[in-house]
Subunit: 760 residues, 2 copies
């Protein structure tokens, strides 16, 4: 855990330079706009510890899989988030000495990300080994108004240096992924257009052949006056730069405005990518920085008006929740159903691939309530479109008759993860995909989605579960062997309670939806079941499994067992661990982690969170009291679930602790891995912790329930949600009753606490 | 399963050319002499399917580890058996057309390995696309008399071709491993000496810097008369060849005798390797082929005199047992305690590394009975010397106080396997290492080994087991969680019966040996326990675990359970599998294998074999009857254990089936993987199946027991063993009583069947 980011309600501020944590800061200061993004790398370059990262939505590379020992059913490739061509480079030489903070004496350094305006500003004063002192202020944004534009205003003042400053303004497609299994580069050059005015490099990904044109242009001012200097052009394969030399005196200020335009074949035809880039560049380079910046700020104002959550009395929490909303909105805007939410968004390469069960289990509620039904539906359709590939995936593993196993990690519907204990065994993802359908219909009331798309997916999922269990004479019931639950600190266990429970629920829900669909849309349903070749004995079989599926529990303790044999472990609590052992995954060998009782992320509790209506509060309490003290929360997805349950159990202190843990996970680098990128999908969990946790938001039988409680350190909080064509603002204050205000839409009856309220 | 090798008591014969199975044949026709070896590659080269392989004992390469996701405790490298410089090349061009069986019409082909003389002979008649017909007879051996020499006599007759034959006689260090994680080459050139008379290439391995000099020289005869032709020299980095052109007429015969000398820094100083190679080449190239061949044959005669096993009435079985003895003797001769027995010997790259638990559990009995106490002791000392590294290995995984975990796979004592479920969890290897000490002392009576070396190892092993178990309140006993047993078709299971049992036995045996040592060698023992820092409470703790270790069983069925939860599986027998699904590991995904009941190799039965005296025959029978039908024997180490148990249970038909399966595993390619190399270590299991299985050999309280039975298809069999300075020949004939003859040494009292016999 670190503590170097200033607490501030709207800004992320690093007050001095922390070279050791530079990669952490680069993650925290990432910018994006749903279409592209990049890490907080320095424009002038940096020879110290850095992870260079530019990313373009939908553009990936299927890197050749690397495994120790191949197993049947492994995918051929692992789809990687691709480090894309860089456009931010503004190299600076003071005579022969480069501006490079790794090699300079840094007298002053300030970096801030203003989340309100989506603007990154960095200012520093530093002196070279040769004694040349400069001051720099760099300001950058990734335009929310024009999704293919990024812009930099870089001001450099010579403090004592008289001589030549040489600028290198480049576009660089000669980049590589840090996470490249065989150390290969993934881009080839398609074309390189360089004039005195601009550079456009068009590069294509190997194998997937995405074409991306990266165009740059610039304007230069000396002491506020535009200057026009003849650039020298430096070129090589996949790289081009304008080199410009300017004579300066101490006190002079050079300002560079650098335009970056990124156009990709994900959105344009390959033939047009370069031309489009060219046109945009022509159009934009005439527009001043301030004008483009204002458009961008205005768009962020709209976003914040819709989605902001305010917390009074707790700057750390306020900063955390805004950081979460800010990065979610930078990552995915829901306009394109081909896209999804990568676990690291545009902030790092790790985890590759874009889609995990994170989307269904964590992100969907956020987008449902903030971006609305259409965006949520797009997230569901993403999986619907991948159904044929999920069926093919299951078939490869020996399942039959149209059973579907969705991939654990995917870009295009194909599995691209290759650890057997995850790929083949962490099958609860299928459960989350069913649950998301239920959750979406419950929230939006869009029942038509079921007959149009949902039921088809549910049938394939139920077919999977029914083949994945087997009858056990010993247990006198069906069992599910060899799975990995949400708690990935257990592998290949039998009868993981969560997985068994969600499997049984999927079967039940499928039969329910089927009965409802037959009643309400008989013809459509008949056509669908005929297409799927659904047999009556399948439904019988599902019913039999529903009735006889084994679920491990310990009646003495009144708890569900995470899996068979869990009580054979040495039962310890997290507070018995030495700080030097945390996080466990960075200090313990895998076998030790596996046989310990320590839980990476909510597992039984995840199930109780999803299905809280199925259980008495006391049952939930006993399980929470048993499992929470053993949970190390080394998955970013864990604390939010604990926060929500703690709220409903009245454990306000624990809920607040868990809220800070999810809200400040990256800001304080709890798990010592923020350097790889931000935990973007878990930020939706931060939102849920507040809205579903403290806010107590639920939907039951089409009605919205709210039950706000205010944790001790807060004076008040307020959030806004979309619900069935209404916009509602909920405000909760310490010591007084919460209020719900209808900001748009027709009056609606909701429940607030134990009262029915007609909000109008 | 294939059936293309002729059944013959002394020879392995392939009667026609099988290009599709050429890699299988290359494995079967491998040659070696304990110091070097190579696969049955063609001298003239081959552009079809082939795995080129030359290997030098003790010379390995630590290839950079490749894993999907790194886990704490993984080794940095995987030691690879190294494909070494090749010396066998005799390229042939008929004018411009090469002799290459992949591109010729093959009219006749015959390949035979005479195991009696260790000689590989290949003869063929073939015609090029251009109509040039030749006949070739190539004869090759790897000298058992001179361990650094290999020799080829290659005769080629032109049938219809008048023109120039160009020979390319090379030495080639520009080789690569097929099994190279990053497709790198592992050799660099040190020097290259080429004269008209010889080639010596000295190459060194990267990282490990083993130096190997490969020298070649030749003599050429035309129609029986020596010819001396000026060679053209072709050279490049790591490669050199003599190219010789000879004018021939139809009917002419060229004979090439090619000498290969391999000297390595494993046996010589680096400075001397090349010089030694040079001297040997000078010395040997004057000696005719026949003379060197005769020396070699004579050495094989001695080996067969000592180790041969005859079986009358069953050529398939006879061929199988000799094939096993032949390859074991080619692989390891026991002269060098730094060496060990690689699972593929000198016949392939797969499995890398040299030492697995195969050595202790399978190979030791063979070498004890055929090569004697000194060789067996060397195998034990190999592990004794690695004890500090085993302690270090355990420490890395979180174990303390001098606990040792021996590596699963090693070259030099360091772990080099990197699948967590094997590396960290297949810890039963520690048990086999304890058992081997017991087995060795039991067989040889060499009790001094215990106080000199054995006890120190046992203490470290017991320390490991005592830390690896934990107390379970639920079970009211100690449990061992998260292990992989011998049956690798289960991973990360709890309370694997075999592992728990051998752990408990190790603790018991350690305490027994400790008590004995304190009594018989008080001072030595005191010094040892002080050095180890052994505390009284450790011994108490071990005793407590011995008394309270949980062992899973099913009292109803009267069986031990392979692991917790085994009875939850769908219990099927192997005969319910479709042939197209076998072997499972080539057709089923890993999760499906894991959750099935099918057993890769003897697991509970392995324990019953090791500790048969601890159990009633009826207990063994019930377990055999339960587990045998579920065992797919997809490990080469499996059928031998089943064969031995089947013999002791009187299941003679099953025993015979299992014997053939182990004896002909590679000859008939049961598991469809012989192409990767032979299953050398399991060949010791073939020997055990006969001697311990049909022969019923046991040692109890210092006395030799024999109880020969003869399977139906056999008229008789006879084997010879070394036992406590005696040589005994045991002969069993169908229908008459077996005989035991003392061939050397003092009279000895043994038990034959139920009779005590004084053999003199």
């Amino acid at each position: 855990m670190k503590n170097f980011i200033q607490h501030h309600p709207w800004k992320v501020i690093e007050e001095t330079f922390h070279p050791l944590w530079n990669r952490v800061s680069e993650s925290l200061f990432s910018l994006g706009n749903g279409n592209m993004g990049h890490r907080g790398n320095f424009e002038e370059g940096y020879s110290g510890e850095t992870l260079q990262g530019h990313y373009v939505a939908g553009v990936y590379y299927p890197d050749k899989t690397r495994v120790g020992w191949w197993k049947i059913g492994y995918p051929e490739y692992f789809a990687k988030v691709l480090n894309a061509p860089a456009w931010i480079g503004i190299g600076i030489e003071l005579d022969e000495e480069p501006v490079d903070l790794a090699r300079m004496k840094v007298e002053r350094f300030w970096r801030e990300l203003d989340m309100r305006t989506g603007t990154l500003t960095r200012t520093f004063a530093a002196t070279t080994a040769g004694g040349k002192a400069v001051e720099v202020t760099a300001c950058r944004f990734c335009s929310m108004a024009r999704k293919e534009l990024g812009l930099i205003r870089y001001r450099l003042t010579s403090k004592n240096f008289n001589g030549r400053i040489t600028l290198t303004l480049d576009a660089d497609a000669d980049v590589k992924n840090q996470d490249a299994n065989y150390d290969e580069k993934f881009w080839r050059e398609v074309s390189r257009k360089v004039t005195d005015q601009y550079i456009i490099i068009t590069a294509a990904t190997l194998k997937t052949d995405f074409h991306v044109s990266t165009g740059t242009a610039y304007r230069i001012f000396l002491n506020g006056k535009p200057v026009s200097l003849q650039p020298e052009i430096a070129e090589r394969e996949k790289y081009a730069a304008h080199r410009i030399s300017i004579a300066v005196q101490a006190g002079d200020t050079i300002e560079i405005v650098k335009y970056g335009v990124i156009a990709s074949s994900f959105n344009h035809s390959k033939q047009n990518v370069e031309l489009h880039c060219h046109r945009l560049l022509d159009e934009l380079r005439g527009i001043p920085f301030e004008q483009l910046h204002n458009e961008h700020i205005q768009r962020w104002e709209e976003i914040w008006r819709d989605c902001d959550i305010t917390i009074e009395g707790d700057a750390a929490a306020q900063q955390g929740i805004r950081f979460a909303i800010f990065h979610l909105m930078q990552t995915y805007t829901g306009e394109d159903e081909r896209l999804n939410i990568g676990p690291k968004g545009f902030t790092g390469e790790k985890y590759g691939g874009s889609t995990y069960w994170d989307t269904e289990a964590y992100c969907l509620p956020f987008y449902m309530s903030t971006a609305g039904q259409h965006v949520a539906r797009n997230l569901l359709l993403y999986r619907y479109r991948h159904l044929p590939k999920a069926i093919e995936n299951a078939r490869k593993l020996g399942f039959e008759n149209g059973a579907a196993l969705y991939p654990m990690v995917t870009m295009n519907g194909e599995e691209c993860h290759n650890e057997w204990e995850i790929t083949f065994e962490e099958i609860h993802r299928n459960g989350a995909i069913a649950y998301a359908i239920y959750d979406y219909v419950r929230y939006t009331g869009d029942e038509e989605y079921l007959t149009d798309y949902g039921l088809e997916v549910l049938l394939a999922l139920s077919r999977f579960w029914s083949q994945r269990v087997n009858w056990s004479d010993a247990k006198g019931g069906y069992v599910m062997l060899g799975v990995t639950g949400p708690n990935e600190y257990e592998n290949n266990v039998n009868n993981n309670w969560y997985t068994n429970y969600i499997a049984r629920w999927t079967l039940t829900y499928t039969l329910e939806v089927l009965a409802w669909a037959r009643k309400h849309a008989g013809d459509k349903t008949r056509a669908l079941t005929e297409k799927a070749g659904l047999r009556a004995d399948e439904e019988k079989c599902w019913q039999d499994i529903i009735e006889k599926l084994y679920l491990p529990e310990d009646p003495t303790r009144g708890i569900f067992l995470q899996q068979d044999g869990f009580l054979d472990k040495e039962l310890r609590t997290v507070d018995s661990l030495k700080p030097a052992e945390r996080p466990l995954n960075q200090h313990w060998s895998w076998d030790r982690i596996l046989r310990s009782c320590f839980i990476k992320q909510a597992d039984v509790l995840q199930g109780l969170y999803f299905f809280e209506d199925h259980f008495d509060r006391e049952v939930i309490r006993k399980n929470f009291d048993f499992y929470e003290p053993m949970t190390v929360h080394e998955s970013s997805l864990s604390p939010c679930v604990h926060a929500i349950l703690a709220c409903s159990l009245g454990y306000l202190h624990k809920a607040y602790e868990m809220f800070l843990r999810t809200a400040r996970l990256d800001l304080d680098d709890y798990n010592n891995d923020t350097e790889d990128g931000l935990h973007v999908t878990s930020m939706a969990g931060t939102w849920m912790s507040l809205v579903k946790g403290f806010g107590g938001m639920r939907v039951k039988d089409g009605r919205l329930y709210l039950n706000p409680i205010v944790p001790g350190p807060w004076q008040s909080y307020s959030f806004r949600i979309l619900f069935r064509n209404r916009v509602l603002r909920i405000t909760a204050k310490q010591g007084t009753e919460a209020t719900v205000k209808l900001e748009s839409g027709n009056p609606i009856e909701i429940q607030l606490g134990d009262k029915i309220l007609n909000v109008q």
